[in-house]
Symmetry: C2
Subunit: 215 residues, 2 copies
Amino acid sequence: MTPESPRTRIRRLPEKAVEDVAVLHAILDAGRVAHVGFTDDTGRPAVIPTGAARDGDRLLLHGSTGSRMFRRLAAGAEICVTVTLLDGLVLARSAFESSMHYRSAVVFGVATEVPEGEKVAALRAMSEAWMPGRWETLRAPHARELAATTVLAVPLDEWSVKVSDSPPDDPDDDLDAPVWAGVLPIRTTYGPPVPAPDLRGGPRFPAESAGWSIG
Amino acid sequence: MTPESPRTRIRRLPEKAVEDVAVLHAILDAGRVAHVGFTDDTGRPAVIPTGAARDGDRLLLHGSTGSRMFRRLAAGAEICVTVTLLDGLVLARSAFESSMHYRSAVVFGVATEVPEGEKVAALRAMSEAWMPGRWETLRAPHARELAATTVLAVPLDEWSVKVSDSPPDDPDDDLDAPVWAGVLPIRTTYGPPVPAPDLRGGPRFPAESAGWSIG
């Protein structure tokens, strides 16, 4: 459980707050894209989507050495990293009670750059989180590729989680309305793989991907 | 086309930048959740997911009158609102060239509160964007529901869009690697509707939803 701080305490719909670290981990593991918030050099907020993967008790982000955002983050800027999974539309008998099913994780902190000696292991962890088993089928990274890549680690110390997964909660007065109510689930799945136009020889879609999950 | 400003000019992978306002609109229309970035009262960044729907040349957000974030936004805080759709994993022959297919829209600006007299129309526009046809099957909002709801409008003036939709771009040296390469598409769809436990009478799942789209 995260120590409560003024910015992780959920005031809005506190009944949806979850303090179980296993739920935090599950959300980060199911997500692929994190929205990274920081203030730019004029002090104004910016929110940029970036690939993120959990490695134990830290969240890893990777990007180009030349990226302004990654340079700013590596320099110790305060950040807020949010991962949201949208799970459904909640169709209540009124617009007011209609809502969404979602799971969201908000992590506050400062990122630190993964040192050169640990960079390959961190990139491998990110690859394994998204595409288990693929890393070992690929060639090792070239030195110039590693030099062009920044890997940042955000500690999972200060965070909050909200989960909305209940049926519509209409007041009694509305229950006889002649309208369907319930949840329309939203599913995220992989579609059939599309081979690269320049695919040579006969490699098949990798068998290890059969177990890859999303969403 | 948006006038270029220092913060909307895309420096990273500029070949993925899109300046067509129709693409901006399509991303905002396909998305359901926006990640809203702002600075909290200590000057630190926060990123909160919230439902967002486009209404012409503005993006509408709605939330509780009691929400700290909505109060802060309504007071004229600078915000950055980002909508991202993840469309696939790009499996290249190397980890370095592996990436994702995505569409993302980043909107900068200041939100203004939709005045009382226009609030119902704005809420209807949001409902219609997500669940076309449902609004007219629901009772009208109660006055106290409207009073409890803040609707904010963010003008689509300063924005940038990136679209990544190309096959893997491996260097020639890697093309003979005995590994499958291509794109694993990510699909977002609606699953079978789940009736509310307290559903009374025999209302069927609304026919108008047959045409609802997501993703």
